[in-house]
């Protein structure tokens, strides 16, 4: 009974002397895992790790399958979040001081310029990698077999990524910000074109009201900046975090990443994996388990392919760590050399010429050039709707996990790519060379142009093209590939046109060096 008689002080003393170990022990409960069992345990027990499965399919670890796109996008977002918090410390969201505080971040804050560059470039890179990720998911038919909902969430995430970037673009309150804000406000007000045509603007000015709501007034000013700031640092990040959680949750619930039904191991796979160490093996390769009995769909282990899985610790984690460092290193290296743009203080009296939205919206701006409503809202909505509907209109799940589905898929991709490139460049070239209806018949009603302009014609063509593909190949998957390929090509070409080929007054130039000197 000595122990019980030990005085409280002695106990306290003992505790005090062991506080280092016990404190550490409570953080690192299990220490470095040494056996498969402990490797498994750590995946279960760690909050951050448990979103991943204990065992990971080799297919998931193959860089050639995922290309790491989703992960890179995730890490870019994390980098942007962290650097964003850093910037938030110094940034002052008022039109008097926003510009100056950004200048101060550039000039005075130690490492401020680098941090701003990192924030800017990681944010913009996120758009690219989210799109790449989507491309990968699409071409490997990974939107099927219960993943339809996650595809929709992905599209929401894409839109959120765009919005986060856009709102961030407006914060420095320089000429770029201001005129991008004006353009975006005008795109928001695009329904005005329709209501004008219908002659109901007086009673039902949906475009004007949306614009006013967005700007908090009729012209961009301090209210608009506050709103944009609120969106950028709170609403959109919160939304993206929550929805991203759902995204990951769904990946887990839908049975991890897709893989082909017939998976063959290759010799090269050993480059990416550490084979299971057999000591204390709790997952014999011949057994399958349903880890969560209520879960629908297939968990990775519940499959006949269990022999092709390896433990997530260390295989998956090393892969993730490597991608993270790669992303970070690439962003920092890029930011080291390339500075984020910052132009003159916003000046409502002097429009930028050309006033351009951020580059990722220049495809839209190109379309807006034809019709404000169709380009700004109609066609993007149609494109998003088309993308969202893909998993529901194409239900051929047998191709899941295979790049381009099969040989025919690759052919369709290539043909669609060529047709898309040639067709769209032709359409643009025609429009640039010969103008459109307004140039030919100055008095033509606007409704005709809204309905029939290069953008809508192209949209119609894309629809017909994918329907024709379905008809010829007898496969909805091929139609989907045709549709998606052309969507991708269109986005790239339109963005390139808007970014590089459009100069002052939205005139055509081969390169910026040809712009008239201002």
């Amino acid at each position: 009974m000595d122990g019980t008689k030990q005085s409280g002080l002695v106990k306290f003393k003992d505790n005090l002397f062991t506080v280092k170990d016990s404190l550490l022990g409570s953080f690192i409960r299990s220490g470095a895992p040494t056996s498969d069992r402990s490797r498994t345990a750590i995946m279960f027990n760690n909050f951050f790790l448990h979103v991943q499965t204990v065992k990971t399919h080799i297919n998931t670890l193959r860089p050639s399958y995922t290309l790491g796109m989703g992960l890179i996008a995730l890490f870019l977002m994390i980098i942007a979040f962290i650097s964003g918090i850093f910037l938030m410390v110094y940034y002052n969201p008022s039109i008097e001081n926003a510009f100056n505080s950004v200048k101060d971040i550039n000039f005075v804050v130690s490492g401020g310029k680098l941090m701003r560059n990192v924030h800017k470039w990681s944010g913009e890179a996120m758009i690219i990698f989210v799109l790449f990720h989507m491309t990968r998911v699409f071409y490997t038919s990974s939107y099927l077999r219960g993943r339809e909902f996650n595809w929709l969430i992905g599209i929401v995430l894409l839109v959120l990524t765009f919005l986060l970037n856009l709102t961030g673009y407006m914060l420095p309150w320089d000429q770029l910000s201001y005129w991008a804000l004006v353009i975006v406000a005008n795109i928001i007000a695009a329904p005005l074109e329709m209501t004008d045509i219908m002659g109901v603007t007086k009673y039902f000015d949906i475009g004007g009201i949306s614009k006013e709501l967005f700007l908090g007034g009729l012209v961009p000013g301090k209210e608009a900046l506050n709103r944009v700031y609120l969106f950028h640092i709170m609403l959109l990040p919160a939304a993206i975090l929550i929805i991203l959680g759902v995204h990951f949750w769904r990946i887990r619930k839908d049975g991890g990443l897709t893989r082909p039904d017939k998976f063959d191991r290759k010799d090269t796979d050993t480059t990416y994996i550490t084979p299971p160490d057999k000591t204390g093996d709790i997952f014999p390769t011949y057994k399958t388990y349903g880890l969560m009995e209520l879960a629908k769909g297939k968990t990775p282990a519940v499959d006949n392919d269990v022999e092709n899985t390896v433990l997530s610790w260390p295989n998956l984690l090393i892969a993730e760590l490597a991608v993270m460092m790669f992303t970070l290193a690439a962003v920092v290296a890029y930011s080291f050399y390339i500075d984020a743009p910052l132009k003159e203080l916003a000046n409502p009296a002097i429009p930028e010429n050309p006033a351009k939205a951020p580059w990722y919206f220049l495809g839209l701006q190109e379309l807006v050039g034809y019709s404000a409503f169709m380009g700004g809202q109609g066609i993007p909505m149609a494109a998003l709707l088309g993308l969202a509907l893909i998993p529901f209109l194409d239900r051929e799940s047998e191709h899941t996990g295979i790049w381009f589905s099969n040989k025919q898929g690759l052919t369709v991709t290539i043909i669609s790519f060529i047709v898309g490139t040639v067709g769209l460049i032709g359409t643009l070239a025609f429009t640039i060379q010969y103008g459109w209806f307004r140039n030919w018949w100055p008095n033509i009603p606007q409704i005709v142009i809204v309905m029939i302009n290069p953008g809508t014609i192209w949209l119609g063509f894309v629809m017909i093209w994918s329907l024709a593909t379905i008809k010829i190949t007898g496969s909805t998957r091929m139609g989907a590939i045709a549709l998606f390929t052309i969507f991708l090509v269109s986005y790239i070409i339109l963005t390139y046109t808007g970014t590089v080929l459009r100069g002052p007054n939205w005139d055509f130039f081969w390169s910026q060096s040809e712009w008239p000197i201002h």
């Binding site: 200048k103 000039f107 490492g111 892969a319 290296a333 201002h518």
Partner: protein, 469 residues
């Protein structure tokens, strides 16, 4: 370990990251201003006269220096590099350490005024390129060349003081601005002509306000204004600006132009004791509003810029036939279709009494009494005969339709002034007596032999121009 691919990716990426972080730190450590400050410190230590001074020099802290002037809303970090600007020992040092020239710094201590309030440039920037705002630095107000620096003085000081205390360039510029007749075309504070752009706040206009296409050298507002003064059409090919500079006049005017600013200085900075209102007598007003086109007004000149003849308005023959009322009418109404705009108060902001003064001044060289009257109304006119005579005798200079201009020497006869404001008697007198000092010959009497009846016919015909559309 077998996951070679990911491990090597991890390794390489980590190394690259470390390298760039290291480079970033190095870049911070060796920033431009730090290098300068170290150099400055070494200089002080090296040149210290005694130990105390050396100790003080050694204690000099290396760090960003900033002048925050709240009432001017300026944060100037110029002294991070120009660290010796208030140190009298630095009088002979090279830039960026040199002492500020002159004695301005005594009355304008840096901590109360900052730097950019006079010199412009980007006060917040901490590297030379961006601080001076040169090249593609996206800064609206690059550092002002020293020859125009006096434009900043006029922000706070009155011209009398500027004249007496060493800022005579901007004073001269202001005088030139009045005497070159700039306001004949440009409005300032609501008073002036309509042909050119209003000049209010012109000095604060950002770089993007100017079309820099034809500017030689660096594309700054200073160069634009200066080169535009030197040769307006080299900068704006379609410009109708009639300004001809001698020697340094364009520099003086440029200096003045940059003192016309939008922003107003806080009252405690302003030092306006002796505000001398510029003279507003007839001669000054004539120079301010008329001289750019009419010059002395003694001779008429065919102007290639306007592509028409600018009439001589102070030569005696004109004044002989035009009374003050007629002249005032012309001034107030302007001459439609020509560069002569209306000078009514509503159009030009000029008060009617000022117009009266100008008219008086113009008429001051009237030497003769009214000429022998023509009595136009007593003639029975024949428009057909007038037309024949006009086509034969007048159309070579005034054009078949009386429009003048376009390489025709004659003035525009079709405009509303000639048609409505001037009475036929005046026209008849002009034709009969001609205008000495101008190419308009005398057609009556011994001259080119038109009888009074002929002249009356021509006048009648000329008066029909207004009716034709």
């Amino acid at each position: 370990m077998h996951s070679r691919f990911y491990l090597s990716l991890l390794l390489i990426s980590s190394l690259v990251l470390m390298m760039f972080i290291g480079m970033g730190v190095y870049r911070e450590m060796t920033s431009e201003w730090k290098t300068y400050q170290t150099e400055y410190k070494n200089m002080l230590v090296r040149n210290a006269e005694d130990d105390a001074a050396r100790k003080r020099a050694e204690k000099l802290e290396i760090g960003l220096r900033q002048n925050y002037v709240a009432s001017l809303n300026k944060s100037d970090r110029c002294m991070s590099c120009h660290i010796g600007v208030e140190n009298p020992y630095m009088a002979k040092a090279d830039q960026p350490f040199t002492l500020h020239s002159g004695d301005y710094i005594e009355n304008h201590p840096v901590d109360k005024f900052g730097c950019t309030i006079c010199h412009y440039g980007q006060g917040r920037a901490t590297n030379k390129k961006e601080a001076h705002g040169k090249g593609h630095t996206h800064w609206d107000y690059p550092i002002i060349p020293t020859k125009y620096i006096q434009s900043a003085c006029a922000k706070c000081h009155d011209y009398k003081m500027l004249q007496e205390e060493g800022a005579e360039l901007v004073v001269k510029g202001e005088k030139l601005f009045r005497e070159k007749g700039c306001r004949g075309c440009h409005k300032l504070n609501g008073v002036g002509g309509d042909l050119g752009k209003a000049l209010d706040g012109i000095g604060s206009k950002p770089r993007a306000y100017y079309a820099m296409k034809h500017v030689v050298g660096e594309h700054t507002a200073y160069n634009w204004i200066k080169q535009h003064f030197d040769d307006p059409r080299a900068i704006v090919p379609t410009s109708e600006m009639r300004v001809f500079m001698e020697e340094d006049e364009s520099d003086l005017l440029t200096t003045y132009i940059f003192s016309i600013r939008e922003e107003e200085m806080p009252s405690k900075y302003r030092f306006l004791k002796n505000i001398v209102t510029p003279p507003r007598d007839g001669e000054s007003l004539y120079k301010m509003f008329c001289v750019a086109c009419h010059g002395s007004g003694k001779i008429s000149v065919y102007d290639e810029i306007f592509d028409r003849t600018i009439p001589a308005i102070t030569n005696p023959p004109f004044l002989r036939s035009a009374d003050n009322k007629t002249i005032k009418n012309i001034v107030m109404e302007g001459r439609g279709g020509t560069q002569m705009t209306s000078w009514k108060t509503t159009a030009s902001g000029l008060k009617e009494e000022d117009v009266d003064k100008i008219v008086e001044y113009v008429a001051s060289s009237r030497t003769y009494e009214r000429p022998e009257p023509f009595n136009y109304l007593e003639f029975q006119t024949n428009i057909d005969s007038g037309m024949r005579l006009y086509n034969n005798r007048c159309s070579y200079c005034h054009g078949k339709e009386g429009k003048g201009g376009n390489r025709q020497l004659g003035i525009n006869l079709k405009n509303s002034t000639v048609q409505q404001v001037l009475d036929p008697e005046f026209l008849a007198l002009t034709i009969r007596d001609g205008r000495e000092g101008t190419p308009m010959p005398s057609f009556g009497g011994d001259g080119l032999g038109l009888s009074d009846q002929n002249i009356a016919d021509v006048v009648a015909y000329v008066k029909t121009f207004g009716k034709k559309k």
